[in-house]
């Protein structure tokens, strides 16, 4: 018998607390598969954020340490500078990375910190109950934009991948979507590529994952996956935004 699907070793035998259809559980699994396949478990430290994924340390079977809201990139910087041999990844939501942690993220990227960021863009603040995030789509209703996000007063969705890619310290940025089995496979490849950049000391790497939040979008899981595919990708086009190992993308 050929084993084609099993629990990754780096994923603890614990039941996820995430809502049905949530992108976090898929993203966790992908990161764990990559850590296993690249044999990084023993020398990896993960930094989960405050956010729906705050309990990520209950699922990832690697060393994990909590971070203050938005400060993941700074914490990872401290770890990596003190112990360059350790593989460090931050796992951050869009409120965390694109809101309160913008400064830490931009400067870590600009310094070319040799760290990997898994950036979950679900267009809302999930944990606190579905408020507007910097990535909320124009016109989208959230608990703090009950009439829809108005670009005139609330700005337009912030595109972090596009913003960070031109910085010279950035080695690799790709945006992927959790919206179909094919796209999930793409997401895994991107995560593996990002970790590869870190192993090769190339600088800052990030994978932005468009990720469904059925609960706060008030959709069924199936609807939410479709919404990622059809609506989110129009504002946040998937693709490789930077890859220093590909000359035409070197920026």
């Amino acid at each position: 018998m050929k084993l084609i699907y099993t629990r990754p070793e780096s994923l603890k035998k614990a039941a996820f607390h995430y809502c049905p259809g949530c992108g976090h559980s898929v993203a966790h699994r992908l990161v764990c598969e990559v850590i296993d396949e690249m044999e990084l478990r023993g020398r990896t430290i993960g930094i989960p954020p405050p956010g729906c994924s705050v309990f990520a340390y209950n699922y990832f079977d690697v060393d994990m340490a909590e971070s203050a809201h938005g400060r993941g990139a700074a914490v990872a910087t401290g770890i990596k500078r003190a112990c360059p041999g350790i593989i460090v990844f931050t796992y951050q939501g869009d409120g965390d990375l694109a809101g309160i942690g913008t400064a830490e993220t931009i400067h870590a990227a600009n310094r070319g910190e040799n760290i990997t960021t898994i950036f979950i863009n679900n267009a809302v603040y999930g944990m606190t109950g579905g408020q507007m995030a910097p990535t909320t789509l124009s016109g989208m209703k959230t608990t703090t934009t009950p009439y829809g996000r108005d670009p005139a007063t609330e700005g337009r969705p912030m595109r972090m991948s596009e913003m960070l890619a031109p910085l010279e310290g950035v080695a690799y940025i790709e945006r992927v979507a959790i919206s179909s089995p094919a796209n999930i496979r793409k997401a895994k490849k991107a995560i593996a590529r990002a970790f590869r950049m870190q192993i090769d000391n190339r600088g800052f790497s990030m994978v932005e994952i468009l990720s469904p939040c059925p609960t706060n979008w008030k959709m069924t899981p199936v609807q939410s996956w479709k919404w990622v595919e059809e609506e989110m990708t129009r504002v946040f086009p998937p693709g490789v935004y930077k890859d220093v190992t590909e000359p035409e993308n070197a920026g």
Binding site: D63, R71, H107
Partner: protein, 368 residues
């Protein structure tokens, strides 16, 4: 523990060098095995950051990094401490406010770190002149949550150096952030200083922190929980450690208190000024002395209570509107008589001025 007050070094000893306080802290930290320094420019502590840039940045295995903000700097300290490096940051009052979030996380996760606050006048942007207006913030934890940090109050460049080394040891021993609460004068004045340790060949790495799970079980550093009684237990365990620190590490110093009838209570640069005043008043026959808290947290309340068995009149002198006086009053619980003299906003009174306040009080209270 009674602080063996380092006397000002005499010029004849070659091992002593003339140095400003900020640089002396930096040199002492490097000799204490500092591996990572993260800072952000602010006066009056820039010499410290610049010294680190010059001398730590190029040391093998060490990191100097000018962060994008104080918030980032303290979180970098958190990261470096997580993996066992001796790590520190320094700033002055407005920047220390920004570090409070990170200090709270360090305290919560029981991570050692050294934080230097070269206080300046406040509130707000305030002034760049020396002040003692952050006493409350420093000794009450400072950030959110129920925690303490050890707070050291040096009053000479020699003490800045000695206490920096002590700060790293205390931080590691008790897995706690330690703050050195100086001020702009201490940071920028030059005095002879002797470094009591050589720089270590290999900078130490602590055991017991995250290093990657290797082949073993993974570990988690965190406080967040959905179960209040779990967090209550964390708070209790921190509290028990704080009790131990109080018992073992409370430190103070006295000057001419044996026959004193009026004792000034002051710390840091204010204690230094008071000492000058006491010297001249003694020459005029006034029996005055100094009680100097060296650890500001834990505050030396027991020795202060001992003191008022013999001296009734105390004068608390601070470069603020009265902060440490609350700890003095708490310690004395109504015993003795406590007066206050303060100069806030970055004004540095001369010893003569403090001397006049003391002698007025001395005569008013009929001590002569």
């Amino acid at each position: 523990m009674r602080w063996s007050a380092p006397r000002l070094p005499s010029r004849s000893t070659v091992s002593k060098v003339l140095m400003d306080g900020n640089s002396a802290i930096a040199e002492a930290a490097i000799r204490a095995g500092l591996r990572c320094y993260f800072g952000y420019p602010i006066t009056p502590q820039n010499e410290l950051t610049e010294y680190m840039a010059m001398h730590l940045g190029r040391k093998k295995g060490c990191t100097f990094l000018q962060a994008e903000s104080e918030v980032a700097a303290i979180n970098m300290v958190y990261g470096a401490s997580l993996v066992g490096a001796r790590a520190m940051t320094s700033s002055s009052s407005p920047g220390i406010s920004l570090k409070q979030e990170g200090i709270s996380y360090l305290a919560a996760c029981e991570l050692p770190a050294v934080i230097v606050n070269m206080q300046r006048g406040g509130p707000g942007l305030g002034s760049i002149a020396a002040a003692q207006s952050d006493y409350f913030q420093a000794t009450r934890g400072g950030g959110h949550g129920d925690y303490r940090t050890i707070v050291l109050g040096p009053s000479s460049v020699q003490e800045l150096a000695d206490m920096t080394m002590r700060a790293f040891d205390l931080a590691d021993k008790y897995k706690i952030p330690v703050m050195i609460l100086g001020d702009g004068v201490l940071g920028q004045m030059k005095e002879p200083v002797e470094f009591k340790r050589e720089a270590p060949e290999i900078t130490p790495t602590r055991e017991g922190t995250l290093q990657g799970a290797g082949g073993g079980a993974s570990r988690i550093v965190k406080t967040f929980t959905s179960n209040p009684s779990e967090l209550e237990e964390i708070n209790w365990s921190l509290f028990r450690r704080y009790q131990l620190i109080k018992k073992n590490e409370t430190t103070w110093d006295t000057y001419m208190t044996d026959d004193a009838r009026l004792v000034v209570v002051a710390y840091g640069i204010a204690a230094r000024i008071a000492r000058g005043a006491i010297k001249s008043l003694r020459a005029k026959g006034l029996k005055v002395g100094l009680f100097r808290p060296v650890t500001l947290w834990p505050f030396p309340d027991e020795p202060l209570r001992e003191l008022v068995k013999n001296v009734r009149q105390l004068l608390v002198f601070e470069m603020n509107m009265g902060q440490m006086i609350e700890d003095v009053q708490l310690a004395l619980a109504g015993k003795g008589e406590v007066s206050f003299y303060g100069r806030p906003g970055g004004v540095i009174p001369a010893p003569d001025e403090v001397g006049r306040v003391m002698s007025r009080l001395y005569y008013q209270k009929g001590l002569k």
